[in-house]
C-alpha cells in the first residue's frame, strides 16, 4: 500500500506494478475473503473494502501516469503465440478509473447491504474476482487476452446471480447462456478478425479493416459480442429476471455499470480501431437499428412495470440503446456522446439501483403498489434518487441531458427516423421515472405491513449506504455542469478523429435542446393526465399500457413470448428433441434392428437343420451341384 502511494506521489514512469496490483490483488483478496473464518464478517469486509480502495488508487495512478504497454510471451502453441500484453492509455485508464470508482462506492454500500445475509463471503469473493477480470479486460492489449478476461466474467456473473436465490437459479442460467452466446460470437469474431488482419492480435497493431466481404461478418460478430455484454437487444432479457433474484449491489454493479462500461468500450474499439465503420454505411445502419430497437422496446417495457427493481432493469437495457445508436452513427459527435452517455449511465444507473436497494432494505419490498411517500422517512435516499432520475430523464443541467443531446445530434444527422425514435425513447424514459419517483417517494406514506416484528417503520439507511448514493448523485451534477471535464478526457481518447470538434459546454444546437425540453414537458403533462385519470401515481401510465393494440402486445411481452431467450431455448429444445430422436434411432439400429435381423437370420438357418437325415442328404446334393458348378466355372 505504501508502495503504491509512494508511486502515486512519485508519479513514476513505469506503472507495471500497478497493473499487477489491479489484476492480482482483487483476485487474491477475493480468495482470501472466502477462505477466512465463516464468522469473520468484520475481517472479510475490511479485506473487501481494502481491496477496492487499493484498486481505486491504482486506477487513479494509472490514469495520472503515462501511457505505456507491457508484454511478455504467455502461450506458445504451435505456430500460434500469444503475448500477454496489457496496455495503459487514456481509453483504458478512463474505463479503469470508472470501474474502480463505481466498484468502490458500491462496495461500501454492499458491506452494509449484505450484513446479516448468508453467503456474503462468496459475494465478496466473486465481486472481487469480477473486478479483477474486468480490469484485465479493460487493460488487455491482445485480443486473446481480452477474450480470456472477458469470457471469464461469465463465471462471476453466474455465481453472483446464483447467490441471490439458491432455490431458483433460472435467472443465473439465463444470464449465463445469453452471455455465453454473446461471448461465443465474440470468439468467432475475434478469430475472424485475427485471421483477416494477417494473424495480428495485438490490439494496438491491428489496422482498421475495411468493411468488405468476410470482414463484415467479423465486424458484426465482434460487435454483437460487445453489445451482448452491454445488454443490448437481443441479449437483454436476463437483466429483468436477474433483478428479481440477484443481490441488489450486483444489479448496480454489473448491468448497471460495469458491463456497460466494458461493452461500450469494446464496441467503440471495434468500430474505431479494428474496423473502419463509415457513417451511412450498411453496417452503421445495422448498429443504429439495434440501438433504437433497444431503446424503444426496453423503455416500452419499463413504462408498465410496477416493481422498482424491474423497472430500473429495463432502463438499464434501454440506455444502452442510446450508446449503441451513438456508436452506430460513426460520427464524432455520436461516439463522443455514446462514451459520455456510458459514463453518465454508469453513474446514475448505479445510483438508481442503490436507492432501490435502500428502499428494499427499509421496506422489504420494491413493489410500487405497496410503497409510497418514502420521502418522509428516507429523505436522503429520496434526494439521491431524484437527482439520478432527473439525470436519466435528460433534464438539464444534469449529466444525462448533455450526453443525450450529443446523441440526438448524431441521430438527426444520420436519419430523421432515428432521431424521432430516440426522442420517443426520451419521452418514455421521463414518463416512467415520473411514475416511479412519484409513486415511491411522493404521495402519502405507505409501506407493507406483513409481519410487524420483522418490518418496523422504514428508516433512513445507514450512512455507508447513502453516502455512495450521494456521491454518485453529486457526480451527476458535476458531470452535467462541468461536462468539460469528462468530455475533455473522452475527446482525447478519440484523438485525431476529434480534430476540430469540441462538444463540451452547452449543446451547440439550441433548437434540439428546445425540442428535448418540449418532450420532457409533454412527459410531465402525460404523467399528470394519467395521475388524474386513475388517481394513483403508480397507475399513471396505465392509459398507455392498456391502450388498444398496445395492451395485447404488452400481455404477450409480459408472458415472455417476445423474449429472444425463450425463442432460442424453444428452438434449442426442439432441436434437442430432434437430435435425441436421431440418437435413439441410431441406437434402435443397434439395439433392435441388428439384433432382430441376426436372430431372424439365425432362426432361419437353424431351421434348415431340423434333424432329418433326408434333408441333410438333400443339402449334400445341393452342395455337390454347387461344387460341380464351381469346378466347371473355374476350370
Amino acid at each position: 500500500m505504501l508502495n503504491i502511494l509512494s508511486q502515486l506521489i512519485a508519479g513514476g514512469n513505469n506503472h507495471t506494478n500497478l497493473i499487477y496490483i489491479m489484476l492480482a490483488l482483487p483476485a487474491i483478496l477475493g480468495l482470501v475473503v472466502i477462505l477466512l473464518p465463516v464468522k469473520g464478517y468484520g475481517g472479510r469486509s475490511v479485506a473487501f473494502i481494502g481491496a477496492l480502495v487499493i484498486n481505486a488508487l491504482a486506477a487513479l495512478g494509472l490514469l495520472l501516469g503515462e501511457n505505456f504497454s507491457m508484454r511478455f510471451p504467455w502461450v506458445h502453441l504451435g505456430d500460434f503465440s500469444i503475448q500477454f500484453s496489457l496496455r495503459v492509455y487514456n481509453f483504458s485508464a478512463f474505463i479503469l478509473i470508472a470501474i474502480a470508482a463505481i466498484a468502490l462506492l458500491i462496495g461500501i454500500y454492499t458491506v452494509v447491504f449484505m450484513r446479516g445475509k448468508s453467503h456474503y463471503g462468496s459475494f465478496y469473493c466473486f465481486f472481487l474476482l469480477n473486478l479483477a477480470l474486468a480490469n484485465g479486460a479493460a487493460l488487455a492489449n491482445n485480443l486473446i487476452v481480452l477474450l480470456f478476461f472477458w469470457a471469464g466474467l461469465l463465471v462471476t456473473l453466474f455465481a453472483m446471480i446464483a447467490i441471490g436465490n439458491r432455490n431458483n437459479v433460472s435467472a443465473a442460467v439465463k444470464a449465463l447462456i445469453i452471455s455465453a452466446v454473446a461471448d461465443l460470437l465474440l470468439i468467432l469474431g475475434i478469430a475472424i478478425t485475427v485471421w483477416q488482419s494477417g494473424g495480428k492480435m495485438m490490439m494496438d497493431e491491428i489496422m482498421p479493416l475495411p468493411l468488405t466481404g468476410l470482414n463484415n461478418v467479423g465486424f458484426v460478430l465482434m460487435m454483437l459480442g460487445a453489445l451482448g455484454k452491454a445488454g443490448a437487444i437481443p441479449f437483454h432479457s436476463w437483466i429483468p429476471d436477474a433483478a428479481k433474484d440477484a443481490p441488489l449491489p450486483f444489479m448496480a454493479m454489473m448491468p448497471g455499470a460495469l458491463e456497460k462500461l466494458l461493452g461500450i468500450y469494446l464496441a467503440v474499439r471495434v468500430a474505431r480501431d479494428f474496423y473502419a465503420l463509415e457513417p451511412g454505411s450498411g453496417m452503421s445502419m445495422f448498429i443504429m437499428i439495434i440501438g433504437v430497437v433497444t431503446i424503444i422496446l426496453a423503455v416500452g417495457m419499463a413504462m408498465i412495470q410496477k416493481d422498482m427493481k424491474r423497472l430500473l432493469s429495463f432502463h438499464a437495457i434501454s440506455q444502452v440503446g442510446y450508446m449503441v445508436l451513438g456508436i452506430g452513427t460513426a460520427l464524432p459527435v455520436g461516439i463522443v456522446g455514446a462514451l459520455f452517455h456510458m459514463l453518465n449511465n454508469a453513474i446514475y444507473k448505479s445510483a438508481l439501483f442503490l436507492s432501490a436497494g435502500a428502499v428494499e432494505r427499509s421496506c422489504g419490498t420494491t413493489d410500487l403498489k405497496q410503497i409510497s411517500g418514502l420521502r418522509r422517512v428516507m429523505p436522503i435516499t429520496a434526494i439521491g434518487f431524484t437527482i439520478a432520475a432527473l439525470s436519466i430523464s435528460g433534464v438539464p443541467p444534469f449529466n444525462g441531458f448533455f450526453s443525450k443531446e450529443l446523441i440526438f445530434d448524431a441521430a438527426l444527422e444520420s436519419g430523421l427516423v432515428f432521431y424521432i425514435l430516440a426522442l420517443l425513447g426520451a419521452f418514455m424514459t421521463a414518463a416512467s421515472f415520473l411514475k416511479l419517483g412519484h409513486a415511491a417517494f411522493f404521495g402519502p406514506l405507505k409501506w407493507p405491513h406483513i409481519e410487524e416484528s420483522n418490518n418496523p417503520n422504514p428508516r433512513e439507511t445507514p450512512a455507508a449506504m447513502y453516502v455512495p448514493l450521494l456521491i454518485l448523485a453529486a457526480f451527476c451534477l458535476v458531470f452535467g455542469l462541468g461536462n468539460v471535464i469528462p468530455l475533455a478526457g473522452i475527446q482525447s481518447i478519440l484523438g485525431d478523429f476529434m480534430a476540430g470538434h469540441d462538444y463540451s459546454g452547452w449543446p451547440h444546437s439550441m433548437s434540439l435542446v428546445l425540442i428535448s425540453l418540449a418532450v420532457l414537458i409533454f412527459a410531465v403533462l402525460n404523467h399528470l393526465f394519467g395521475k388524474l385519470r386513475t388517481g394513483q401515481a403508480v397507475k399513471a401510465l396505465d392509459h398507455i399500457h392498456y391502450a388498444p393494440g398496445l395492451h395485447q402486445v404488452y400481455n404477450v411481452a409480459e408472458k415472455g413470448y417476445l423474449d429472444p431467450y425463450e425463442w432460442l431455448m424453444f428452438a434449442i429444445k426442439a432441436y434437442a428433441k430432434l437430435c435425441f430422436a436421431i440418437d435413439r434411432a441410431i441406437d434402435w439400429i443397434y439395439n433392435v434392428l441388428l439384433v432382430k435381423l441376426i436372430s431372424v437370420l439365425s432362426k432361419g438357418l437353424a431351421h434348415l437343420n431340423n434333424g432329418h437325415s433326408t434333408r441333410y442328404m438333400a443339402w449334400v446334393f445341393v452342395g455337390m451341384l454347387f461344387v460341380l458348378l464351381a469346378l466347371i466355372l473355374y476350370l
Partner: protein, 477 residues
C-alpha cells in the same frame, strides 16, 4: 537401466502387475489397492522419465524384429509420452478415487485387475510402433471395458457391456481390414518402416470406422451413453480420460505422423465431427440421467478434438492436442463428481436431485470448475483448446464449420448449466446425505484445481504441445 527398458517397465508393469492384484487381494485389500496405485504410478513416472529425451527429439526406441512385418516395438516420442502421461496421471487419480468409491462393492479384485490391465493396454497402445500391436492393445482395452461396464452384473448392464464390446470390437475389426490394406501396400505393419504412404480412400474409411467407434463418434457412439451403468470411476476412466482418447490418439498418430491422406478428408472428417457434436449435444439437453448427459457431452467434445486434429492446420492440431489434455482432466472430474453424487443420493436421475450444494459443497465447486472448463470458459483450461480448435476450422477457410462448432459450444454451456443447476440448486431433495470419502473428494478437487491451474499456466501444456509439433516437423525451425 537403459532407455528401452524404461518403456518396457512402463507398459508391462501395469499389464502384468494387474494379474497379481487378485492374489494380493487375498492377502490384504490395502496391499492390493496400494499395488494397483503403484502400478499405475509406475507408468506415470516412467513416462515422465522418458519425457526429456522425447522433448529433445531423441525418442527412446525399443524394437524387436519379427518376420512378416510383425515387428514389435515401442517408441516414446513426444506425442506418445504426452498421451501416456495424461492417461496414467488421470488413471492414478481415478484409482485413488476408487479406494473410496468401491469400498462397499463386491468383486473388487476383478475391478482393480481390469482397471490396471486397462492402463497397461493403454500404455502399450500409446507406445506401439506396429499396427498389429496397436490392434492387440486396442482389443485388450475393449475386454477390460466390457468387464467393467457390466461390473454390477445386472442384466441390462451386461447387455450394454456387450453392446459396447461389439461396437468397439466391430469397429476395430473393420480397422484391421484397413491395416491389411496398408500391409498390402507397404508389406509391413511396422510404422517405423513406412515412409508416409498415401492411404487410399477406402483404407481411410475403414480406419476411421475403427477410430470413430472407439472414440464414440456418430453414428457409432451410442454405446458410450449406455456404458454409464458402470461404476463411476470406470465411466470416468473409460469415457473421459483414456478409452475414448484412444481413437483420437490413433488419429493423431496415424494421420499426423505416419500416413498421408487424400486432401478430401480434411473436409469430411470435420463434417462428421460437426454432425456428431451437434446431435450428441442435442441429446444431452434432453437426457435426464446425469452420467448419460456427461457421456453425450463426451461425444460432443470428442468431435471438437477431431475437428482440431483433422483440419490440417497447425493451430487446429495444436488445439486438438491441448483439448485432449484439458478434456481428460475436466471430464474425468465431471464423471468423478457424478460418481460422488450417485454414491450419496443413490440415483442418477437429475430430476430427483436438487439443492445438493448445501450437503455436497466441495463436490459442487469441483463440478462447477470442471463444467466451466468443459464449457470453455476462461480462466479454465478448456477455453484455450476450444478457441484454438475453432480457430483451426476458421483457418481451414470454413467459417460455417466454425459457426457450427460454436453452436455446439453453446449447447455445451446449456446442458452443463442445466445439470449443474438441477443437481446443486433448487429445493433440497436429499437433506441428510454425506459428502463422499476423503479420497473421492480429494480426487475431484485435484482435477478441478488442475483444470483451473492449467488454464492460468496454460503455457506449460501449450509448450509441450508445441515441442511435439516441432518434433513432428510441423513447425519451422
Amino acid at each position: 537401466m537403459g532407455g528401452p527398458g524404461i518403456i518396457l517397465v512402463c507398459v508391462f508393469t501395469p499389464l502384468l502387475g494387474a494379474f497379481l492384484l487378485p492374489f494380493l487381494g487375498r492377502i490384504s485389500t490395502v496391499l492390493r489397492n496400494m499395488a494397483a496405485l503403484v502400478f499405475v504410478l509406475v507408468s506415470f513416472v516412467t513416462s515422465a522419465i522418458l519425457l526429456p529425451s522425447a522433448l529433445a527429439n531423441n525418442p527412446v526406441l525399443f524394437h524387436w524384429s519379427l518376420p512378416l512385418g510383425f515387428s514389435f516395438g515401442f517408441l516414446a516420442d513426444g506425442l506418445a509420452v504426452f498421451m501416456a502421461m495424461i492417461s496414467s496421471f488421470v488413471a492414478a487419480i481415478i484409482v485413488f478415487y476408487s479406494f473410496g468409491y468401491m469400498l462397499n462393492y463386491k468383486h473388487k479384485n476383478e475391478y482393480y485387475l481390469m482397471v490396471t490391465l486397462f492402463i497397461g493396454a493403454m500404455m502399450g497402445l500409446v507406445y506401439s510402433t506396429n499396427l498389429l500391436f496397436i490392434y492387440v492393445f486396442w482389443e485388450i482395452s475393449a475386454i477390460c471395458c466390457w468387464r467393467l461396464i457390466g461390473f454390477f452384473r445386472e442384466k441390462m448392464m451386461v447387455l450394454r457391456a456387450d453392446k459396447a464390446f461389439l461396437v468397439t470390437v466391430g469397429g476395430a475389426l473393420v480397422m484391421l481390414i484397413g491395416f491389411m490394406g496398408i500391409y498390402s501396400q507397404t508389406g509391413t505393419f511396422d510404422l517405423l518402416e513406412m515412409n508416409h504412404p498415401l492411404l487410399p480412400n477406402w483404407v481411410m474409411i475403414t480406419i476411421l470406422f475403427g477410430i470413430l467407434s472407439k472414440s464414440a463418434t456418430l453414428p457409432l457412439h451410442t454405446w458410450l451413453p449406455d456404458a454409464g451403468v458402470a461404476p463411476s470411476p470406470v465411466t470416468s476412466l473409460l469415457h473421459a480420460a483414456v478409452l475414448v482418447k484412444i481413437g483420437v490418439y490413433i488419429y493423431a498418430r496415424f494421420f499426423l505422423v505416419n500416413f498421408s491422406v487424400p486432401e478430401v478428408w480434411h473436409t469430411v472428417v470435420p463434417i462428421i465431427a460437426a454432425v456428431s457434436a451437434l446431435v450428441s449435444a442435442g441429446a444431452a439437453i434432453v437426457e435426464n440421467d446425469i452420467k448419460r448427459i456427461i457421456a453425450y457431452s463426451t461425444v460432443s467434445q470428442l468431435a471438437f478434438i477431431f475437428l482440431g486434429l483433422s483440419c490440417g492446420v497447425v493451430q487446429g492440431i495444436a488445439g486438438g492436442l491441448l483439448y485432449i489434455f484439458m478434456h481428460s482432466l475436466a471430464k474425468g472430474g465431471l464423471f468423478l463428481t457424478a460418481g460422488i453424487i450417485e454414491h450419496s443420493t443413490h440415483t442418477k436421475d437429475i430430476r430427483q436431485m436438487g439443492g445438493l450444494v448445501r450437503t455436497l459443497p466441495a463436490t459442487a465447486i469441483a463440478f462447477a470448475c470442471c463444467a466451466f472448463s468443459v464449457m470453455g470458459i476462461p480462466p479454465f483450461g478448456g477455453f484455450f483448446s476450444k478457441y484454438m480448435v475453432i480457430n483451426g476450422a476458421l483457418l481451414l477457410g470454413n467459417p460455417w464449420l466454425a459457426g457450427v462448432f460454436l453452436l455446439g459450444a453453446l449447447m455445451t454451456v446449456i446442458y452443463l448449466a442445466r445439470v449443474f443447476v438441477r443437481v446443486f440448486f433448487g429445493p433440497t431433495t436429499h437433506p441428510h446425505i454425506q459428502e463422499g470419502t476423503w479420497e473421492m473428494v480429494g480426487s475431484v478437487t485435484m482435477l478441478a484445481a488442475l483444470s483451473l491451474l492449467f488454464g492460468i499456466f496454460i503455457n506449460l501444456p501449450a509448450s509441450f504441445v508445441t515441442v511435439i509439433l516441432q518434433n513432428l516437423g510441423m513447425l519451422g525451425r
